[in-house]
Symmetry: C2
Subunit: 198 residues, 2 copies
């Protein structure tokens, strides 16, 4: 197998990259700057060595605690609970949220043998109890497992008297009623928002 075939085969293992995209990427790399390829290769080769979980929130970081947990400009009274570290990156792209995060490291899923003990729940309770947290936003995915986990966290935090909220469900912005599924339509009707009249 040539380096080209081996590269295409490896690239097509990446999520969202099929064989055709892998070939396009490989040929793009063949025509791009030597320095771009070297830096990309360096990032890939050293990624796992250089990143570790943040001891506070659980997302990946080069320096512990991570840049979000140590940012003095962020609202330390709000904690957003997510399933996976990548959800932090995704929520940050909204430029809407200025609080802190807490990565559970998964969701409760008996079929996969994942119970509450496998998740970072103890440290969440500890943070809420001792760090002046006023609100916890549950941002687990709107799936059966995500909902189950959210409910579990609600029960867990109940004795602490903190406000717990959940991301709103409804139509995606720019979406089309025609393509919305029945459950999403039902939720967006139930949670309809009054229109300000001023």
């Amino acid at each position: 197998m040539t380096v080209l075939e081996s590269l295409i085969k490896r690239l097509s293992r990446l999520p969202g990259v099929g064989r055709k995209s892998a070939a396009r990427i490989a040929y793009y790399l063949l025509s791009s700057d030597d320095s771009f390829n070297e830096e990309l290769a360096e990032d890939i080769a050293t990624l796992k060595r250089r990143l570790r979980p943040c001891s506070v929130c659980g997302s990946f970081t080069e320096f512990d605690p991570c840049s979000i947990c140590t940012d003095p400009g962020r609202d330390r009274s709000v904690v957003c609970v997510v399933e996976r570290a990548q959800d932090v990156t995704i929520l940050e792209t909204s430029d809407e949220y200025r609080g802190l995060y807490h990565v559970l490291g998964g969701v409760i899923s008996p079929i996969d043998g994942i119970g509450p003990n496998e998740l970072r729940l103890g440290s969440l309770v500890e943070r809420v109890r001792s760090e002046g947290v006023r609100e916890v936003i549950l941002a687990t995915n709107p799936t059966v497992e995500g909902d189950t986990t959210a409910l579990y966290v609600v029960k867990l935090l109940e004795p602490l008297g903190v406000t717990v909220s959940r991301l709103a469900l409804g139509l995606p912005v720019g979406g089309d009623l025609e393509y919305a599924d029945r459950l999403t339509l039902a939720r967006s009707l139930r949670a309809r928002t009054p229109i300000a009249n001023d």
Copy 2:
């Protein structure tokens, strides 16, 4: 910028990879085997150093001439002419063609300052003249530039008395009439094929 941010930024420069796919790929790499990441990085870093254009057909290869040009099982009397080296990889996936290739290295495009002299046309004529080629298949893209280039090659090869053909135009397999454009419909009507009646 952390290694994660830098990796996501670099990955999103790759063709067909947006910011979201780049983040997904980066987190996939964070959870994949160390050896996978190291081998992928090695392929990317050494790609350009290890590959060179095949001196016969012009596609990329580690050993010159390339494995297709030296394959004794291939039909040396047919040469398929393509625009770019990656088109060889694409055509090979069809498992239909058993002849040789010739990479032009582009198409005639006056607006980009590319004329016939910028393409590997001299070596094509030389191969057809001296290597017993019976048929040349023109597989440039069905675009204005690809068609212009194909016509130019037809004229160029005319004195050599070789059969010259062009890839068929028509509906893509599994396609839908509704989504075919007007020109494709017209070409597929004009080039309709009789149905064998046996």
